[in-house]
């Protein structure tokens, strides 16, 4: 892991939802990275990543927001940007690939951003946190930091769309990715093999068609239940909202639906590293994970959900 004595610094892009409903994702990322001796430095003056990547090829306007963030990375004297949010990762990475391969598009964006002191020249790399943990930290090294092995915990690792599609941004197999399973195994837990790990959760239809999300959630969680998972881990705050909060709607749709807690993979990591409750923030989970974690002996009986 590079220089042994000095903590490594890494430019970090949290994204909007990690500062709102997904504070648990942000807090557990920062605290677990500290345990790995990686100092994450939140990008100065970051703005919206652009949310969904625009799929049209005739207008570069939608690349302005992501490229502005990449300019901020250069201004922070960094050449890499790490994010944990699957959507931010996907959008930043795809915009980066797009402008790197189209000189005319990049020139148009730089012209549009003429008030910026720094020009973007395609010289920043975008990394997902899982990719960083696998390739830079290494799961063997990561396992050495585990003080509370998650023994007996059966975990369904859900990837959804944004980590594995399209292939230009995927850092693992599109149909059967394993990076999260390998992380979970390094934490001492048991990953389960379930059929729906790269099936879409329905994404933003949660705004206009929550009944469609209820159906997706029913199928995805049902598939994880079929493999006797205790809980699910995710990397996307939109998947998290759909799979966690929309379980109420799924139960109305299917009376046989059973609840399952949904955590960010960083919360599981922080738990295994012995981080304390303020960096776990299980109180923000809609389906309470404490009963199953207590049943597995992974949290103390006295730990209760903090009042919301």
């Amino acid at each position: 892991m590079g220089n042994e004595n000095k903590p490594m610094k890494l430019a970090y892009y949290p994204g909007c939802t990690l500062k709102n409903q997904a504070v648990n994702f942000d807090a557990s990322t920062v605290s677990s990275m500290a345990k790995l001796d990686v100092e994450v430095e939140e990008l100065d003056r970051w703005n919206c990543c652009g949310t969904v990547h625009a799929l049209n090829s005739d207008n570069v306007m939608n690349r302005v927001a992501p490229v502005t963030n990449l300019i901020r990375v250069k201004e922070a004297q960094a050449s890499e940007l790490m994010t944990g949010c699957a959507m931010c990762y996907n959008t930043l990475k795809r915009a980066n690939i797009d402008v790197k391969s189209r000189a005319d598009a990049l020139a148009t964006i730089n012209d549009f951003l003429s008030l910026e002191k720094t020009k973007y020249e395609g010289d920043v790399d975008v990394l997902h946190l899982l990719e960083y943990l696998r390739d830079r930290v290494g799961f063997d090294n990561l396992a050495k930091k585990v003080t509370r092995p998650l023994k007996g915990l059966r975990v369904a690792c859900y990837y959804g769309c944004l980590l594995v599609r399209p292939k230009e941004v995927a850092f693992d197999d599109a149909e059967n990715p394993m990076v999260m399973e390998n992380l979970v195994r390094a934490l001492g837990a048991t990953p389960v093999d379930f059929s729906h790990k790269t099936e879409c959760c329905g994404a933003y239809h949660t705004v206009d068609k929550p009944e469609v999300i209820a159906d997706r959630t029913d199928k995805i969680m049902g598939s994880a239940h079929g493999e006797r998972a205790d809980l699910m881990v995710v990397s996307c705050p939109l998947c998290a909202f759909n799979l966690d909060f929309r379980q109420d709607d799924a139960r109305r749709l299917n009376p046989d639906f059973r609840n399952m807690p949904v955590l960010y993979f960083t919360q599981l990591m922080a738990l295994a590293f012995g981080c304390d409750e303020p960096s776990l923030r299980f109180d923000l989970q809609h389906i309470d994970p404490l009963p199953v974690l207590k049943a597995r002996g992974l949290v103390q009986e006295t730990l209760d959900r903090a009042p919301a």
Binding site: G15, C16, T17, N20, Q21, A22, C48, T51, V52, H53, A54, L55, N56, S57, D58, C85, M87, C161, V164, R165, P166, K167, A174, T198, E199, C200, G202, A203, Y204, H205, T206, V207, D208, K209, V212, D215, R216, P237, L238, F241, F245
Partner: protein
Amino acid sequence: METTLRITSARAGSSFVAGIEKISGQKLLACYQCGKCSAGCPMAAHMDVLPNQIIRMAQLGMRDQLLAAKSIWMCVSCLTCNSRCPKDIRIAEVIESLRLTVLRSGQRDDNLHIMELSPDACAVLPPIATISAMRKLTS
């Protein structure tokens, strides 16, 4: 759908086809209708026209039927179709270009009315959900 289609050398609707190919950057005629896109589509159950049918109709320049299809608003760009297409056609890009054809028409024909959301919905929905819905469904 009851549609009579007369295929002639006049190539009616060819400007629509050219527009879709330009916005999406895709060659529509590459499709040979294997149906793999529709087989894997997580939204297919909620669609009136399946993804492979959308490509066929786009090849034939069936503008009005395509722009009126519910399917173009159901697609969430999960890209399962793209990643499985044996001809490397980006079906999601074609569907995005159909959405954009409606949204760019100047009619403000939006498929989401964010001001009509209930206060309860607004209280729980994360920004990642509302912003992406607005990006995809509004002009």
